[in-house]
């Protein structure tokens, strides 16, 4: 992977800027992104992998291979699934250190705060935290 985390974040910011802050177009686009998310194996959608949000469920599985963390995820709501797919696109296949160091500024830039806003509304904020925890755990193991 030659693109950095920030390269991809900038790409995403660029894509969303074309939606002109129109909320309906934004949601529609997020849902489309969700449909592109590689399917998660049903067996991985287990209790251990649930990232608890109040209204939507998110499953997240992280595996380390060749010094990199590979993420698989899914959600039971279409919009959260789209948001999850963005995180996977940015953070999957990165080294633990890259994940720990990542500054996810795209969230502010594309106005996703309102989707994450309250921890109660969906599992995205919790998922970001969980990915960071995986990053920390794997980087500690590597040392």
């Amino acid at each position: 992977m030659s693109e950095t985390i920030n390269d991809i974040q900038n790409e995403i910011i660029e894509e969303f800027s074309m939606l002109d802050s129109d909320m309906e177009m934004t949601i529609e686009y997020i849902m489309e992104l969700g449909q592109q998310l590689p399917e998660m194996a049903e067996a991985l959608k287990n209790e251990d992998n649930i990232v608890k949000g109040c209204q939507s469920k998110v499953w997240l599985n992280a595996e380390a291979k060749d010094g990199k963390i590979y993420l698989e995820a899914d959600s039971n709501t279409a919009i959260t699934k789209g948001l999850v797919s963005i995180l996977v696109r940015i953070l999957s296949g990165r080294t633990p250190q890259e994940i720990v160091d990542a500054d996810l500024y795209f969230v502010d830039k594309i106005g996703l705060n309102r989707f994450i806003g309250t921890q109660r509304s969906n599992g995205l904020g919790a998922m970001m935290k969980q990915i960071k925890i995986y990053g920390l755990a794997y980087s500690a193991k590597a040392e």
Partner: protein
């Protein structure tokens, strides 16, 4: 469905004009506010009363020997009398100001419960309860060794009356249930349940949070021992609630919190407590909000509760009819008697997605379990979408909501 068949005589556009918050766009669309069961909006007169208090009258009450303190105290106590009349309590001393319905219930569970519940006693609640009317009872039952029992409901979301005979026994010391359900809108047969409870000597607490702005409440006619509600669900300020209690019961109930206002005399050896209601109002109360709350009560009184109920029933009947025609919609809660709450789910679409789409189209609804998880479990669902109506909502808004819902559903059929 129609709780009253009377025709209302309200000028809705004139009412809407009194609510500044309604006149705005959200996501580029005119705001349609259908989250009234969570909190409803405030008329200008309530907002003005808050500003006027802080600009002219701000002072601590009940003590100061100066003009501002006298004005603030008078206005504060005027609200107590308004509340007393609003629910037809026997005297103003039976009205206690709290932070909200939750605190009112916690006060009773904690103070009354700690004194009067004993091992082997039973507290009865219903399946329809908000967490606020479940958890405080669980906590005190655990502490006192009492048992919590639950009145079941039928598929429509109505309390199964026949089950009461078996559940209300000599062991029952408290029956706590809502006047109207926040998730489904069901209006419960309050008087009937109270009479049954009293027949075995149990006390009754009614959670009136969802009823107070929709239904005429007469605590003496109901013979309720406690009645709890929140100002912010009846066009009043947030952070303020009411607990009504019968004088003799309040007098026997120990204080909830210690502090200023609630004492008569304090020495390091012993404190004697103030009379009701002050015994339960430790610390400086929410003076500004109490004073502004009076305007909310006047607002309701001037419109007339019968008028409000008749109009909201029209809105509910219209919305129920329209939404029932949409394929894939399942109404959750179809009781014969309902306040203006429309809870539903749509086959194959998560309520969170529906809520976000409706918001994008300017429609504010509530999604989720509405703090009634055991009730959601009863229906084997995670949550619903809830549209709830107030007197300032219109038929045109319901039409726009129905169109927004249909267009949202079509997005998922691609």
């Amino acid at each position: 469905m129609a709780q009253t068949l009377e025709k209302h005589t309200l000028d809705i556009q004139k009412i809407r004009a009194q609510f500044p918050v309604l006149h705005q766009e959200v996501n580029g669309k005119p705001l349609i506010y259908f989250d009234n069961a969570a909190t409803n909006q405030k008329p200008k007169r309530v907002i003005d009363a808050l500003v006027k208090y802080y600009e002219h009258d701000n002072a601590n009450i009940h003590r100061g020997a100066h003009a501002l303190a006298a004005r603030a105290t008078e206005a504060f106590e005027n609200t107590r009398v308004s509340v007393q009349k609003f629910i037809n309590a026997n005297e103003p001393e039976e009205i206690i100001f709290t932070k909200g319905t939750s605190e009112s219930i916690n006060l009773v569970a904690s103070s009354w419960g700690r004194k009067f519940l004993n091992p082997g006693d039973e507290v009865l609640i219903s399946t329809l309860e908000h967490h606020s009317n479940i958890v405080p009872w669980q906590m005190i039952c655990e502490e006192r060794g009492a048992e919590l029992k639950v009145i079941p409901i039928n598929e429509a979301g109505e309390i199964i009356i026949e089950a009461l005979d078996e559940l209300i026994t000599e062991k029952t010391k408290m029956v706590a249930f809502n006047h109207a359900s926040n998730s489904l809108g069901t209006i419960n047969p309050v008087k009937h349940i109270i009479d049954k409870a009293h027949a075995v000597g149990a006390k009754v607490l009614v959670d009136g949070a969802q009823a107070s702005s929709h239904l005429a409440v007469d605590v003496q006619a109901l013979n309720a021992d406690f009645y709890a509600f929140s100002a912010h669900k009846m066009y009043g300020p947030t952070g303020l609630g009411v607990l009504y209690g019968k004088r003799d019961i309040l007098e026997k109930t120990p204080p909830y919190q210690g502090g200023g206002e609630m004492i008569k005399e304090v020495s390091f050896g012993k404190t004697t407590y103030n009379d009701i209601p002050y015994k339960f109002e430790a610390g400086t109360p929410d003076i500004a909000n109490v004073i502004a709350f009076n305007e909310a009560i006047l607002f309701i009184n001037e419109l007339g509760k019968e008028n409000i109920a008749a109009y909201e029933n029209e809105l509910l009947a219209y919305a129920t009819d329209k939404i029932s025609q949409i394929e894939g919609v399942r109404l959750i809660g179809t009781a014969k008697e309902k306040v203006s709450v429309l809870s539903f789910e749509v086959e194959g679409i998560h309520h969170f997605d529906l809520g976000m789409w409706l918001d994008a189209k300017g429609v504010a609804v509530r999604t989720g379990h509405h703090c009634t998880q055991p009730l959601m479990d009863h229906y084997c669902i995670e949550g619903t979408v809830r549209a709830s109506f107030s007197v300032y909502n219109t038929i045109e808004e319901i039409d726009a909501f129905i169109e927004a819902l249909k267009s949202t559903i079509s997005k998922f059929k691609k």
